[in-house]
């Protein structure tokens, strides 16, 4: 079975939720402290939500300098699944692993509410198990979740099928209703909504399962593709 590392920055706060969600789906997830510089033991990595380094300066701006980020970039480069949720998405854009940026919500208030997402592409490690056009109810929880990018970037995102999730009713002013994007290879994904909060009807929605199940399947694929290492 694959191993998923869930990075903990000082100020992260969704790390336990992500571990418990992945575990509930049958995955194997472990917390990884941000000072770690080697992620080679992990088949996939999640940057969870929260306020890494207090979100001081601006969300993700300090976290991109955390020691772990070199290893996250290496993992991404190697084609293994990398998922940034909420604050994690902000960190991935600040680190240049995904294009564009997240700015303050239209309306200038924090928003914690359910949203309906529409799957725009299945060519990513997160959406591979879903169907294009499928609607998923997944909550958002952010102050700076309005996706922005320049015109050329936006055209490229659309042309290369990198927009993976859009809001049905745009809550925050994101360009093109974008809720989540992937890199060109589809192995690095960032989204503002929290799929780990939508795992069971008891908590309001189970629509996040198809996303995290896809991510775990991609992690398993990455594990299977590894060269076999014989234990000493």
């Amino acid at each position: 079975m694959s191993r998923v590392g869930v990075v903990v920055f000082p100020g992260s706060n969704c790390e336990h939720d992500v571990v418990s969600a992945l575990t509930a789906l049958g995955g194997r997830a472990e917390l990884v402290w941000h000072a770690e510089t080697d992620l080679s033991a992990y088949d996939a990595v999640v940057l969870p939500g929260g306020f890494a380094h207090g979100d001081y300066l601006r969300p993700g701006a300090l976290a991109r300098f955390s020691p772990v980020m070199g290893a996250v970039a290496a993992l991404a480069e190697a084609g293994r699944p990398v998922l940034g949720i909420c604050n994690g998405f902000q960190v991935l854009t600040e680190a240049g692993l995904l294009p564009g940026a997240l700015q303050k919500n239209r309306g200038l208030t924090f928003l914690c509410q359910p949203t309906t997402l529409v799957v725009a592409s299945t060519r990513s490690v997160l959406t591979r198990g879903a169907a294009v056009g499928q609607e998923l109810v997944v909550p958002i929880n952010h102050f700076a979740g309005s996706y922005v990018c320049d015109d050329a970037t936006y055209r490229a995102l659309v042309e290369r099928d990198q927009v993976v999730l859009r809001y049905k009713d745009n809550p925050n002013g994101s360009r093109g209703d974008i809720a989540g994007i992937a890199n060109e290879a589809g192995n690095v994904v960032g989204l503002m909504p929290h799929p780990e909060r939508a795992l069971t009807a008891l908590l309001g929605s189970a629509d996040g399962r198809v996303l995290l199940e896809g991510f775990l399947a991609a992690a398993d694929d990455a594990a299977a593709a590894r060269p076999l290492v014989t234990a000493p």
């Binding site: 100020g11 706060n13 336990h16 207090g54 924090f110 928003l111 929880n141 795992l199 008891l202 309001g204």
Partner: protein, 751 residues
Amino acid sequence: MTGEALHRALGLTDDEYALVEGVLEREPNHLELAMFAVMWSEHCSYKSSRLHLRRLPTSAPQVLVGPGENAGVIDAGDGVAIALRIESHNHPSAIEPYQGAATGVGGILRDVFTMGARPLAVMDPLFFGPPDDARARWLVEGVVAGISGYGNSVGVPTIGGELTFDEGYAQNPLVNVLCVGALPRERLVLGRASGVGNLAVLLGSRTGRDGIGGVSVLASAGFAGADGATSLDEEKRPSVQVGDPYEEKRLIEACLALLDEGLVVGIQDLGGAGLTCAASETAARGGVGMDVDVTAVPLREPGMAPWEVMTSESQERMLAIVRPEDLAAVEALCARWEVRSAVVGRVTAPVPDVAGRPVGMLRVRQGFDGPVLAEAPAAALADEAPLYDRPRARPGDLDARLSDDPADEPAGDVAAEVLAALVDPAWAYRQYDSQLFLNTVVGPGRDAALLRLAGPGLPSSERGFALTTDSNPRWCAIDPRAGTALTLVEGIANLACVGATPSAVVNCLNFGNPEHPEVMWQLSEAVDGLAEACRATGLPVIGGNVSLYNESGGRDIDPTPVLGVLGLVERLVAPPPGWTWREGDTVVLVGPREARPDPFPLAGSLFARRRGRRGGRLPAFDDRALATCRFVAGEVARVCAGGASPVAAVHDVSAGGLAAALAEMAAASGVGLAWASPRGHAELFTEAPGRFVVATRDPAGLTGAAEAAGVEASVLGVAGGGRLTLGELCDLAVGGLAERRASALPAALGL
């Protein structure tokens, strides 16, 4: 400044100064005086209320820790304990709403994790003046943003609260905050020092000049101007602390890790009265003394005098008592979380006094072996503030008020009255992370919040817990005793809507100036009302807070006791029914159709208040209401456990009466109801607690079960169509009700 003038400037009376001299058997120096002034402040010592609070019942089999510690703790079963605490941050929020509210959240979280509990949720009861005024809007937006900014970032969900607008709070808003945490039972720790030679280690932020005199100058005096905290009190702004949620988040994780690894023998947060309070309280509880080296405290700015260091209320600090051999491990763990740690004190043996009794002395020194700058018995600071039995007087107009019953008010435009009661607080609670930890089954905006009892580091369990905060200043202004008792019934009814059985109560008593005899009468009556209601329901009070001097320009707020009630759900695997009924559901009023002694009392209702009526006879505390709550809680609990119940939707009758409850359910459902025969407008608007609107697809099953439980059930009608029709009195289109309810608050705030 002479010594005498100094003690008054610090907030001590001449008599209190004489008492300090008696304790020390000499004249106090400036530092000692400053320390006594903060510890003997109303805020820290409860000197005006303590005599009364003793009348509250505090014991029950489930209580592990009662009032007096940092938080109350109950046994929730399955090896899990729940810690609960409520506080006020009224005065700081009136002066600086964002930081006042933010540091209120920070302070209460520390109270809870001090007990070894991981904070799991926060609730915020808020009270403001009418929102059509620029200053009120500034306060509302600032307070909500402060709770959102701090609470979300520190990583604790905010799961509800209250939002009340009333003229009485225009100059003196109330910002209360409740926190619940959970811990493995065996990790319970108490804030006490022990082990002579152990070290006192200060964790967290450096100490600055912020918040000096917060408890004495700010929290324990009213606002001078009739315009409240607008002009004359600007100079109090430096007494407001500034919060740093990122520091607090790391401090929480570091402290819980220290407790997990058994590296501390006691721990205490630094809140009101700062290091003086933490050092004297831990020493006094442990029956030991403590030496504090004032030069070892990490400072935010140079040149701070010892009295400033000892009384600063800088946020995000904890005092841990550590065995010397564990110090290196403590320092390493703190360094990992980037939390500053500094040894600032040592636990010392008590010394015999003249009568030979052991007395733990708090000594402030310049260097551990340097000169003693201040010396006083720790217990004298922490526990021996004078207790005041302040004069109480029944208000002169009480009888006139009680006999001024609004029963004679004509119905007026009933539909308009219903619409006015429809205000969805979502604008506020959408700004709070209400879902972190994946526990929130019912979040803000409903009758009560319902959460799974789970969290990082807790044993797994299918149990759930529910929380509600309730207050009713309209009732309590008329009759604080009956009003407070009814408020507890309202809390129990809210819990019943999510299937929870009440287990413990905390209270935040927000009152005016205790030097006004009418205010002391209100406080005493409210305590008696709460005590009576707790005895009638078998509920213990496990903690509380008293906020006095809520006055401006000599005008006191209406008595506002806020009750937090914690309930438990044995098995939580399915969400409870919501407010949504479906076409064809039978809608039933469950509970006494007629209150006692008057069938449909309007005293203390929103209906009466909107007509300027502030008198009359409140409904009596009613055992039938409590039986109804038990019945509803039992039925809903069956749904939560995954079983079947005839209850398909449920909402309790509270502010705005039956009419508002029905309109809220119709708005949530988008389906109407025709109730043919309400007995006049008083039945629509009376707010007697302990009654429920229940929708069912099995009316015979519901009424049969109610009858078997000895509970009244009256069928009102069948849900359907697009109109809410209440006899001849009201006929409203349901379409648009939800939008109207959603937009009411932003519209009132001019957003």
